[in-house]
Symmetry: C2
Subunit: 376 residues, 2 copies
């Protein structure tokens, strides 16, 4: 999901990290339809882009390719990425359907030496817990394979690698507000794998093999599409489903507090990270992203304001102690001051987050049934 959001955002711009974007390669397990990524001339499945004219002869270094491997999950939300041949008037978008864990794939993806690589591939929290081997294969081994493929290009190649990490790297005991000194103490395999990815990124950066930055993303809400296997999925579905006139299940109490940003904000975090001067990062390559601390009650109140009581009534409470216990071990608020000083920005209310969902996913207006409800 996030990879496609990112690719769509990138095709809507012309520059990344101060360079003109020439080619974007989006790699995902499930081959996205070209229409899934808006705003670009896209050729699905072709290993080489052909949807837009490619000017030969321009130096390869002028491109700002964007690559991110697809996870082996079947969920569209799991991952993706985006890569360049320079000189096209609009970015050329390539899509490649492949499992990031495929031997040799990482080497092929970096062969054109993209300047920027977004690595978002992941088996999400619920699935990494249910399928131990798959979680390690994708979240740890494939990540390391990508870093190794970059290192294997030799000393002349040192791309910016933006790694999607997660606040799941933190665990109890948690202060009310987490700052940069908080130790990594994940209580899930997913969080463990993300924490290891951060450590690898820092060491490969320190050694000069790549120029990494890891973003600890808030829980993304409102995720579009259908639910993935993230345990945090209800934080999106309790808003998304009612906004589309469908019922949703809430497995935790209204007082549960958590840390959020919209998909649009998350895509902007990733793009902004591509251009951060690593001299400003020092040895600490991981950044807590800014976000919004909100309770489930805050979410529901914003839903009521956006779509009326009828929408709220579509939420059915089915308490699940296992989910509540897991969520209680997650951060409630993060001090994003360092990231904010570096120019990262997030929403400040769920009203704003719901508005971005309606704009980005519903064409700017609620479905007609929900509009009536809202008007009544």
């Amino acid at each position: 999901m996030l990879g496609r959001k990112l690719a769509a955002a990138l095709t809507g711009t012309t520059e990344l990290a101060g360079r003109r974007i020439a080619r974007l390669t989006l790699t995902d397990l499930e081959m996205p339809a070209p229409s899934a990524v808006s705003g670009a001339s896209a050729t699905a499945g072709a290993p080489v882009a052909a949807g837009a004219p490619v000017t030969a002869g321009a130096p390869v270094t002028a491109g700002a390719p964007v690559t991110a491997g697809a996870s082996a999950t079947s969920s569209a939300s799991a991952t993706s990425g985006a890569s360049a041949v320079s000189g096209a008037p609009a970015p050329v978008l390539q899509t490649l359907g492949a499992d990031i864990a495929t031997p040799g794939l990482a080497a092929a993806l970096v062969e054109s030496q993209p300047h920027v690589i977004f690595h978002l591939a992941a088996v999400v929290s619920g699935e990494a817990e249910a399928d131990f081997e798959k979680g390690y294969r994708i979240n740890l081994e494939a990540t390391r394979s990508l870093f190794e493929a970059i290192r294997a290009r030799g000393p002349g190649y040192r791309p910016r690698v933006v790694l999607a990490s997660s606040i799941a790297v933190f665990g109890p005991p948690l202060p009310d507000t987490i700052d940069d000194s908080q130790r990594l103490a994940p209580l899930s395999s997913y969080g463990t794998q993300k924490a290891i990815g951060e450590m690898l990124l820092a060491d490969y950066s320190r050694r000069g093999f790549l120029d990494g930055i890891a973003l600890r993303l808030p829980t993304i809400s409102i995720r579009p599409g259908s639910s993935n296997r993230a345990m945090s999925g209800f934080f999106s579905s309790i808003l998304r489903e009612p906004l589309n006139g469908r019922p949703a299940v809430l497995p935790v109490s209204d007082t549960v507090r958590h840390w959020f940003a919209s998909p649009r904000a998350a895509a902007q975090f990733l793009m902004h990270a591509a251009g951060i001067d690593s001299a400003r990062l020092g040895s600490e390559r991981s950044l807590n992203m800014p976000g919004l601390s909100a309770t489930v009650a805050d979410q529901i109140a914003a839903l009521r304001r956006a779509a009326g009581e009828h929408a709220v009534e579509l939420i059915r409470r089915e308490p699940n102690p296992a989910i509540e216990a897991m969520i209680e071990s997650w951060p409630r608020q993060i001090d994003g001051a360092r990231a904010q000083a570096l120019g990262f920005r997030a929403e400040s209310s769920f009203d704003e987050i719901i508005r971005t969902y309606i704009e980005d996913e519903l064409g700017g207006r609620l479905p007609s049934g929900m509009q009536r409800s809202h008007d009544s």
Copy 2:
């Protein structure tokens, strides 16, 4: 070095973790001579021990095997380990010369389902920095292979795994005294690999595949034998060499403060860790070991008290800014309260550490030349 110290200590006892020790298997890259491990009937190189009578028919579960893989380093200090066939009157010591990174070795080592596995195999700090690939192959991949081999035995097998970690998992900014809330921020590939090992151990333990405990060992001083490639090696050589009448080089200033324990204390930490009830550990499987905070000047003063000014004069100062800078990023003092509450004990002075060295390595007395110096 530490594996052999551990094996020697184990052969001098009869119980480990509340069970009678039946078989010890010491696996190391360089085949140790049987005489290198005292106090046991040892058969070097034989894949199955034969040095002591083995009583057939006793349940395999009665043994308390001890296994630790050898690193691929050629340094004897790098690693080792020790494993059991039940019923022998004294522990049967097996030694196995093998590279822990050899495919299939980890599976073979756990086939007899030892109750306790000490995993000490490591490429040390200096070498992991000099040889990036070797460090990751031994310190990360071989560690994960061992954990995977244990998991592959199935749900009936859940051994205590004692992992040797290091205070090198910490990095700046460091408080004067480090406590359990200190985040892992390694500034070396070695520290990164040890931190990743701790995270894997915690996740495999949480999932019930093994029952792990990681010990963040202080810098070990006085290491016997010749120097290994650890950057901290001079903390041993400036005492060991003069105590043997030989010159030594000191690359840092006398005011440098660091955190120490003797090889004997470290072996006792490992043995004690074998028997800790994991209910007392909770989700935090890593423990900062107790130790002694001392400056180089403290070390030298203790050397003077033990062996006289002549011994101190054997230390030649050759400042090395690179080593000093690396050491300055290391911990100076650790709050070992949690470990002490769990019964771990270390030395309280360098006089005591020097005394254990003389007892354990020099047969209880200084070489004759040094004795004269001491008496003069």
